[in-house]
């Protein structure tokens, strides 16, 4: 199911065991893949914790969860002399289009555990919490089994690898809430509360996190990079990708391509065109159709269009062009896609997942969903398009990030958006709205004025369901 790049020039930093049978077991983890399992931890333990952190800074390991903040720099924000500290692994993958952390947890759980141990060593953590999304029992099983093996082998717990390094690693799991992927909401959830984000400042996790103690929250893929980095060194790591974005990224390519899949690609040197059309990756748009638009980084990312297809998969150029790489979720939509329905599907997600803490998000996303729903149902009003933009402006004031539209002489607005809310969930709901309306306003107008266009989802019972055949 998961077809990987076979280019020998590109090291597989995190996905080297995805296709290896029984890679979730300790024995296979130690003997296969692009580094010997737990060799990265052994290498880290030969250095001081500060040296480990400094090498992560030098490698410019950028967070892979969405925000792209340098992991080593984040670790350095722990206030000195305040104990205990905690490491929390963010395995609450739920951004629409994103499918990589589940794969890392299910197929190579020891790699993640090793990465988390390296982080715990570097910051001096007393405990590691592996927070796995609730709806992923298989990932929980694989991690539980791996932790049981690791405990028996002296790789977690007391005196790891016979050294003075000791840390408890605890599997914890959620219960279904997208917002818990936001790090302060995740901490609230881990404390046994409703998963609502905390105000920052003062509640930056590195200073006041879990139980108000210094806490480092890192994404699964970020930590999965550490064993390879520690084993092969900073220079080898920086040799892949670009100067500002070294290393690789796991990209989940979904939607209307011939070969959807999870691909590990070097940052910056692969373009969206390569990703969609190269036979090693997407293999072209399905049925020979034309590309209509694509989402470069998950539901929260403003859409791109055919003009942006030659951009590299790298944070800076994508951000300057008006969107983000986010969580590595690329969703391809061909000419048959209904822009209004696609927009509705994404906005409904944010409306459902709003935690309700901030008024602009709670009320705004609800109204966005209602307005789009009535447009789709044929009850739209002529003022609805501007009303949508007005509601959106209350959540994220000012020009919202959007891709350039040369045909209409419109410039790109760079990422990120402004926000009137504690976390980016509300502002994210604006991305599909501004993207779709600016480019496909006529489709919205047609929905409002032509009442014969009724929702796509009303297929007659017994009708053939499309999809699956052409992928």
């Amino acid at each position: 199911m998961t077809d990987q790049s076979t280019d020998p020039a590109v090291p597989r930093v995190v996905s080297s065991r995805f296709d290896v049978a029984d890679a979730h077991t300790l024995e296979v983890y130690r003997t296969t893949g692009s580094f010997p399992g737990y060799a990265g931890l052994a290498a880290a333990l030969e250095r001081t914790p500060d040296e480990v952190r400094e090498s992560v800074v030098a490698a410019t390991l950028l967070g892979r969860g969405g925000a792209g903040f340098p992991a080593g720099v984040k670790w350095g924000f722990c206030p000195p002399g305040v104990w205990p500290r905690y490491v929390v692994v963010n395995g609450d993958e739920s951004e629409p289009g994103t499918y990589k952390d589940r794969m890392l947890m299910e197929r190579d759980p020891h790699q993640l555990i090793e990465g988390a141990l390296i982080a715990a060593y570097a910051i001096g953590a007393a405990q590691v919490f592996l927070y796995v999304r609730g709806e992923m029992p298989h990932a929980q099983e694989r991690i539980a089994a791996a932790l049981n093996e690791a405990l028996a082998a002296g790789l977690v717990g007391r005196n790891i690898l016979g050294t003075d390094f000791s840390v408890d690693v605890l599997l914890h799991w959620g219960a279904g809430a997208y917002i818990v992927g936001e790090e302060t909401a995740l901490i609230e959830s881990l404390e046994g509360n409703r998963g609502m984000p905390r105000l920052k400042p003062p509640f930056f996790p590195a200073a006041k996190g879990l139980y108000m103690r210094p806490t480092i929250v890192n994404n699964v893929e970020t930590l999965a990079n550490l064993p390879w980095l520690m084993h092969h060194g900073v220079d080898a790591y920086r040799a892949v990708g670009t100067e500002t974005s070294p290393g690789t990224r796991l990209i989940a390519l979904s939607g209307h391509v011939r070969r959807p899949g999870v691909y590990e690609v070097p940052q910056g040197t692969t373009t969206f065109r390569d990703l969609f059309h190269d036979e090693r990756y997407g293999g072209g748009i399905r049925d020979g159709n034309e590309l209509k638009m694509f989402i470069p980084g998950g539901a929260s990312a403003p859409w791109f269009f055919p003009e942006q297809i030659d951009l590299p998969l790298e944070a800076r150029p994508v951000g300057a062009a008006g969107s983000m790489l986010g969580s590595g979720a690329v969703v391809v939509m061909d000419e048959t896609t209904d822009a209004v329905e696609a927009c509705y599907s994404l906005v409904r997600f944010f409306a459902r997942e709003s935690c309700g803490k901030c008024t602009p998000c709670r009320e705004g996303t609800t109204w966005e969903e209602k307005i789009l729903e009535r447009i789709l149902e044929g009850h739209g009003r002529p003022s609805d398009i501007d009303l949508l933009l007005d509601v959106a402006d209350n959540i994220s004031p000012g020009p919202y990030p959007v891709a350039a539209d040369p045909e209409h002489g419109l410039e790109a607005v760079p990422f990120p958006p402004k926000q009137t809310t504690i976390c980016p969930l509300g502002p994210s709901s604006v991305a599909p709205i501004t993207s779709a309306i600016r480019r496909f306003r006529s489709e919205f107008e047609a929905r409002i004025t032509r009442r014969d266009l009724i929702p796509v989802s009303s297929a007659a019972p017994g009708a053939a369901v499309t999809g699956g055949d052409d992928v």
Binding site: S55, Y99, E135, Q140, L147, L151, N159, H172, R352
Partner: protein
């Protein structure tokens, strides 16, 4: 019976002991209660509250935030069809409509025989294998109309693929084994203890930061 059985209570206490602060065990214990009863009953929440040292209202406050906790009985199988973007692009809306028609319930409803609860859910992280669904949180990928029909038939009769899916509420079939003696240095949040290995920072190695 909705309070924990003696065995489950013992397990619940072991789980609580792993956390520096007991209330952190709220969500895992709610899952354990749901695994026992198929849903999260009021008595169970009272028992969870006793074990983590808070009020039943606080447990309800937490549990009601999360979609997986069912405060009322649901079907033996929760059939969760993803209708978010990647799945919708490949026919998820039609799959959901078909499931509603076949089961005779709308999304959110439970069949009259109490076998299947149908849900219309958001992204389940199987986007490259769209359209995807879960039965009691176990994945079924690249589903077409025929596969959906066959799956529904199996779930209704309790045969075939139905045997792959444990009853609703069952989470991981493998549990982490971590007894009190296995814990290394759980430090209560109130104590200021620098980890012993951090003293190494005072004497950098020859390699230095590479």
């Amino acid at each position: 019976m909705a309070r924990f059985s003696p065995d489950n209570e013992a397990l619940a206490r072991r789980i609580v002991d792993r956390y520096p602060v007991a209330k952190s065990a709220t969500i895992p214990l709610c899952h354990l209660a749901q695994e026992q009863d198929g849903y999260l009953a009021p008595d169970a929440m009272e028992h969870v509250a006793e074990l983590v040292g808070c009020t039943p209202a606080e447990v309800l406050g937490t549990a009601s935030f999360y979609e997986m906790f069912k405060l009322h009985p649901v079907g033996r199988y929760c059939l969760n069809i993803c209708t978010n973007i990647s799945c919708r692009l490949l026919g998820a809306s039609e799959l959901l409509a078909r499931a509603e028609e076949r089961l005779g319930v709308r999304a959110g409803g439970t069949t009259a025989d109490g076998t299947i609860t149908l849900e219309d859910v958001e992204c389940i992280a199987a986007c490259t294998e769209a359209p995807a669904l879960q039965v009691n949180y176990r994945y079924v990928e690249r589903v077409d109309a025929a596969a959906l029909d066959a799956l529904i038939d199996d779930l209704r009769s309790g045969t075939g693929r139905a045997e792959e899916f444990p009853p609703h509420g069952t989470l991981g079939l493998v549990r982490q084994e971590l007894g009190p003696d296995d814990l290394a240095n759980v430090t209560p949040p109130g104590e200021q203890v620098e980890p012993v290995w951090f003293a190494r920072n005072a004497a950098p190695t020859d390699e230095g930061a590479s």
